[in-house]
């Protein structure tokens, strides 16, 4: 694979015209990636999801470069019906459509040809890979005091042209003071066996609100990693919801820095897995200053031989007095061959804090099923009702009514 990497990287550099400085930065990131390679289970953060093994088992001849110069067609039916929204459409990692028809033109700034200026500091090999191979990245700025009228949906589409390829995508979003954004990320994969590596960075300034809904719902055989870094300033709110259900493998990593007083983060997610799917949600909530709060609720329903992992770390700095940090995860295992791993971590250096974590897993309550069947529902119908009932309280945490109904619909149609 290293050979292929080197060939593809040179091909990549040939097809772009970076400044000398940028090429240097790219090379540095590239070499860092070569040195570390894909994460494997010997790395603590990846001990439940050996990505290196997953990729080598599922993708033959992974290549790292593909031509982004030619435009792709977008299939109309992909767009969400019944929800008026702004659109950003990526096909195979290439931006194909930018539509903010519902918004005031001067309130949103879109930069689509940014090049990485500074070298990356984090010790994350997938970020190195992303930095090495992303040529131009996206930045969306929501201006001070502006609340978007309609949600923004980022469509991440892949089509049949993509096989055994790596797609790297980087998007930065800045919410200036007192602004608000509802962001839905919807993936639609008509491709097979690719590695998709996405890097989001959110800067949420004073008093701003980010609501982010990540929906991975269509069954597909791609392997995905999505890193989300969120920096929150005073009085800001981030509300994240994850529907983790479609891809063969996906790890969503959420790194949330509560840098300003009274900032709060809400992370809620559901795993609905079948077959051999393996999904992970990893959160790091860093309470850096006092009076910040975080709440996490993750639930999973696992079938066949699927596996779900939830690693939740809460870090409380010594300055972060009056922190509230709560975390709860629950899973229903529909048979003995499924696996749910929950690893909570509390690293607390302040003494006036309220933190807790909990986890429980079990099978469907047979008596409840019997009760429902005695009222005329067959086994499948009873099971579905109980599973939906189990997941309901996570869905109810979604504050936006329209989007909550949309997600309820998406989930109902699934089974």
């Amino acid at each position: 694979m290293e050979e292929q990497l080197k060939i593809d990287f040179e091909k990549f550099l040939e097809n772009t015209n970076f400044s000398k400085k940028n090429v240097e930065i790219k090379r540095k990131n590239f070499n860092n990636f070569i040195e570390k390679g894909f994460p494997n289970r010997r790395e603590e953060n990846w001990k439940f999801s050996d990505l290196n093994q997953i990729i080598s088992k599922n993708i033959k001849n992974l290549s790292f470069y593909h031509d982004l110069s030619k435009p792709n067609k977008i299939d109309q039916p992909i767009f969400i019906d019944g929800l008026e929204h702004n659109k950003l459409v990526f096909v195979n990692g290439r931006i194909e459509k930018i539509e903010f028809d519902y918004e005031e033109k001067n309130k949103i700034e879109i930069l689509d040809d940014l090049v990485l200026e500074k070298p990356n500091n984090a010790n994350n090999s997938l970020l190195f890979l992303n930095n090495a191979f992303v040529s131009k990245y996206f930045k969306i700025i929501v201006k001070k005091n502006y609340f978007l009228q309609k949600p923004l949906v980022i469509y991440n589409i892949t089509n049949k042209d993509l096989v055994s390829k790596t797609v790297n995508l980087k998007v930065d979003i800045l919410l200036e003071e007192n602004s608000s954004l509802k962001l839905i990320e919807l993936s639609n994969d008509k491709s097979n066996t690719n590695f998709i590596n996405i890097n989001y960075n959110f800067d949420i300034q004073k008093n701003s609100i980010l609501k982010n809904y990540k929906i991975d719902n269509n069954s597909n055989s791609n392997i995905k990693y999505c890193f989300n870094n969120i920096n929150q300033d005073t009085d800001s709110v981030s509300e994240i919801f994850l529907l983790s259900s479609g891809s063969k493998f996906i790890k969503n990593e959420i790194n949330c820095n509560l840098n300003g007083k009274y900032a709060s983060a809400f992370v809620n997610g559901v795993f609905i897995l079948n077959e051999t799917k393996h999904h992970e949600i990893k959160t790091n909530i860093n309470h850096i200053v006092e009076n910040t709060k975080s709440y996490q609720l993750i639930k999973g329903v696992l079938e066949d031989t699927s596996k779900a992992v939830y690693q939740g770390k809460i870090f409380v700095d010594s300055k972060a007095q009056k922190t509230d940090g709560y975390q709860l995860s629950k899973a229903i295992l529909l048979n003995d061959n499924t696996e749910f791993n929950a690893k909570p971590e509390l690293e607390i250096y302040a003494d006036d804090v309220k933190c807790s974590h909990g986890s429980a897993s079990g099978s469907l309550n047979e008596d409840s099923i019997f009760y429902l069947m005695s009222r005329g529902l067959n086994y499948q119908e009873a099971k579905k009702l109980l599973i939906n009932g189990f997941l309901l309280d996570v869905i109810e945490k979604i504050t936006d009514t329209e989007i909550r109904n949309l997600i309820k619909n998406i989930m109902n149609l699934k089974q």
Binding site: D367, L385, F390
Partner: protein, 244 residues
């Protein structure tokens, strides 16, 4: 309507029911009284199709072999069990559940399903008749309901689903007098000449309000004596110990 012949039921190699016989005709209300451990719950579990028992013998429901029917099929055919301990099922909206249940049964019978509004009208009507707070139906199934409210909910379901054979499994347990009267009124209002009731109970009290046509005494896994309503009074004054 219901013919039970030589029913034998074991669980974990222990014999619960043995040589159990019973016949119920349309329009009749039968009461089965017995001490704890006599097999009352086992009987209702077997009639509703709960798994886990070793059974032999014959049960015919409207001349069809009941053992050939799964639990939900028995509901489709018109058997309803009012549970002794109705379960709380979080996350399931009561109203929507009842509609799903009613329509599943109607569909199985070849009847037209009710749409949401038609169903709401039906529920409103039945809830009013039973003095059941309609608002509670918008909540999760039995969650936060008191014992009495859960039992009333069972009777409300019964009135909506309109079963042929209703089995009340110790419905009176845990109820105060007022709740008992409401439940009894509900059951009595549903009595018709083409449906039947099997009331399984420990105490005679409920039978003051729901007058049975026949009373049977269940002890050691079989019916040892059958008679009219006065048998219940006899049992109450003698006690189970002295009955034999």
């Amino acid at each position: 309507m219901l013919k039970i012949k030589n029913l034998k039921a074991d669980i974990d190699n222990k014999s619960i029911l043995n040589n159990f016989n019973l016949e119920i005709k349309p329009g009749e209300v039968h009461a089965i009284m017995g001490p704890n451990g006599s097999g009352k719950s086992t009987l209702s579990n077997i009639l509703s199709g709960k798994k886990g028992y070793d059974v032999s013998g014959e049960i015919l429901f409207e001349n069809k072999n009941l053992f050939e029917l799964e639990t939900e099929e028995r509901a489709h055919k018109g058997i309803f069990l009012a549970f002794q301990y109705p379960l709380e099922i979080p996350g399931v909206n009561t109203n929507i559940f009842l509609k799903t249940s009613l329509n599943a049964i109607r569909k199985a019978r070849g009847e037209k399903e009710l749409d949401a509004i038609e169903f709401l009208k039906l529920v409103k009507l039945k809830a009013k008749e039973l003095k059941f707070d309609e608002e509670k139906l918008n909540r999760q199934l039995n969650v936060g309901f008191s014992g009495g409210e859960k039992k009333k909910n069972e009777i409300l379901q019964m009135s909506i689903l309109n079963p042929k054979l209703s089995i009340l499994d110790e419905t009176d347990s845990g109820l105060d007098i007022d709740a008992l009267k409401i439940v009894a009124d509900g059951v009595n209002s549903l009595r018709k000449k083409d449906n039947s009731f099997l009331i399984i109970t420990h105490y005679q009290r409920l039978l003051d309000y729901i007058k049975p046509d026949y009373v049977h005494v269940l002890m050691d896994g079989k019916i040892i004596k059958s008679g009219g309503p006065e048998l219940a009074l006899e049992l109450e004054s003698k006690g189970y110990e002295n009955f034999n």
